[in-house]
């Protein structure tokens, strides 16, 4: 697989603030990389260095093998970039703005209008093509930014929170667009919406305080959670002790937790030993002992929890 984006030990400080401490990553063609992290973790700063907007204090970035620092114009020509907040010239109409971008990207005459029309069609901007950008709703503005980024069909697409502020339909549309384009591009998407990672990303990188703290698929991240593949069952309060005891005796179960009773029912949760799936085992047990179950579900381990755990686990050492 061709590596299209390469960052090596990127570092950036703003005065006394260390925004990016040390970030190295590679994104290959066909990959959609989700950039996760709490606000202020260094996601945007990293993207700004990759796109050549900021010069790193240390390290280097290469786009399609071209050094961003040494040959910025050539590198920038390969990138489509949607900055945070999708800035655009508000006094221009959608079409004239996209015409401007197309010209700067080197398209003329017929090729220019073809590109602009294609970008408008792809992002669903036909109805507002002749409207001034400042009069558009947030969702449309975001789409103008997206249209601007994909206009020249770049090899590398970098988007800072592309779905922020969009309604569910628009989010769905943008995610569809990303998946559709993923095949022949390297895409980096920053987000703090974790469902987005599951929906579009082939890989997720979690950044915290300027460092990469996790790198893997959404599945990999979920696996880090103790609740991954845990089985929760809701039984009547009277059955709870019996069920908990029986579950604890199962071979694959590491631990059993009980929630407080609610409306005469108790939720009992069996946590698997690392790497085990216990759903089948638990199912068989319930059948054998003919326990009446109100509800049963296999927990995936919420990405939110993973996120919280990864990005707050170092809290102690930070203050030390």
């Amino acid at each position: 697989m061709a590596i299209l984006v390469e960052a090596e030990r990127l570092k950036k400080t703003f005065g006394p603030i260390l925004a990016v401490a040390d970030i190295s990553l590679k994104v290959a063609k066909g990959e959609v990389l989700g950039f996760l992290g709490p606000n202020g973790a260094g996601k945007s700063t990293t993207m700004k260095m990759l796109t050549g907007f900021l010069d790193p204090d240390g390290g280097s970035a290469r786009i399609c093998g071209i050094s961003v620092a040494d040959r910025p114009k050539e590198a920038k020509a390969k990138i489509g970039y949607l900055p945070e907040g999708a800035p655009a010239y508000g006094d221009m109409t959608t079409r004239s703005f996209l015409n401007f971008i197309a010209e700067i990207r080197g398209f003329d005459g017929g090729r220019k209008s073809a590109r602009v029309d294609a970008a408008i069609a792809r992002t669903g901007l036909e109805d507002v093509a002749n409207q001034r950008i400042e009069t558009l709703s947030k969702g449309f503005k975001r789409r103008v930014g997206l249209a601007q980024a994909i206009l020249h069909d770049p090899a590398v697409l970098i988007m800072d929170e592309p779905t922020d502020g969009l309604d569910p339909n628009q989010k769905h549309h943008v995610r569809g667009l990303i998946t559709e384009m993923a095949k022949d591009k390297a895409i980096i998407v920053s987000t703090h919406i974790l469902e987005e990672v599951e929906a579009v990303c082939t890989r997720a990188v979690v950044i915290d305080r300027g460092r990469i703290v996790a790198d893997g698929t959404a599945e990999d991240l979920q696996r880090r959670m103790p609740y991954h593949n845990a089985v929760a069952i809701r039984v009547t309060a009277a059955d709870a002790d019996r069920v908990a005891g029986a579950l604890a005796a199962l071979a694959g179960v590491a631990k059993v937790e009980r929630a407080p009773a609610m409306n005469g029912h108790i939720q009992v949760r069996a946590l698997p030993k690392p790497g085990k799936t216990i759903a089948a085992e638990v199912g068989a047990l319930l059948r054998d002992q003919s326990i009446f179950v109100e509800e049963m579900l296999v927990e995936r381990g919420k990405l939110d929890d993973v996120f919280r755990e990864i990005t707050t686990s170092g809290e102690g050492s930070r203050h030390a």
Partner: protein
């Protein structure tokens, strides 16, 4: 060059896309005329020249050019579009020159629209049109110098009002640097050659020469180097302060 022109086109469009352009042109034409007729005693002098018209240009530019220049970079920074602009495949220099040219052309348009003055004076008498042309060129060059200062100051801040005030103040000092107000401050302690150097920076002195019809190489060089210097400074400021 292609990129410079694309940016110039967009910026010019931005001027005319807002009421700013029309307000500026109307006020500029009205004020230059009013100054010439009422304060400059255009009629009473009984001379067929545009001296009273051009004499007030430096003072008008002091107010109006920083107003044109203040949005050039401050607005880009405020709205975040600078991130878009500087990640497009263009160089900082192209962006700066493109923006500067747009604003300069715009002032040029306003200047051309004062042509009724020229017609008036030609109807009333037989002016030396060579001197008038030289004065127009001088006025345009001086506007360019003001503009380069304004553009540089605009890149220093997100706040257009600050950009305006700082640029206007700096331009004021440049205009006044030939006068005692500024020179007196230096005369007490600075060596004579420095006082001389400061005096020679005066926009007013250079402009007076030109508006008498004398375009000399030093004057041309003066304006061109002021423009070049501040646009270079502008590039450094833009590169340094993109993130702030």
């Amino acid at each position: 060059m292609r990129n410079v022109w694309i940016i110039t086109k967009r910026e010019l469009g931005a001027y005319f896309g807002t009421p700013l352009a029309y307000v500026f042109v109307v006020i500029f034409v009205a004020l230059t005329g009013a100054f010439a007729f009422f304060i400059g005693n255009f009629f009473e002098r009984g001379q067929a020249d545009l001296q009273p018209f051009f004499a007030y240009h430096p003072w008008l530019y002091l107010l109006l050019v920083p107003a044109i220049a203040m949005r050039l970079w401050a607005e880009e920074r405020k709205s975040g579009t600078i991130e878009l602009l500087m990640t497009l495949p263009i160089s900082t220099g192209e962006a700066i020159v493109g923006k500067f040219l747009a604003a300069w052309l715009f002032i040029g348009i306003a200047l051309v629209l004062t042509f009724p003055m020229w017609i008036t004076v030609n109807v009333l008498g037989n002016p030396d049109n060579g001197v008038i042309l030289a004065s127009y060129i001088g006025s345009f060059l001086m506007a360019g110098a003001f503009l380069a200062i304004g553009s540089c100051m605009s890149a220093l801040t997100k706040n257009q009002v600050i950009a305006f005030i700082v640029a206007a103040t700096l331009c004021f000092l440049m205009v006044m640097s030939g006068l005692e107000l500024v020179l007196g401050f230096f005369r007490g302690w600075a060596p004579a050659f420095i006082v001389q150097a400061i005096a020679s920076m005066s926009f007013l002195n250079h402009f007076e020469l030109i508006s008498r019809g004398v375009i000399t190489l030093p004057t041309l060089l003066f304006y061109v180097s002021i423009i070049t210097f501040f646009l270079f400074a502008n590039a450094i400021v833009v590169d340094q302060r993109k993130a702030a």
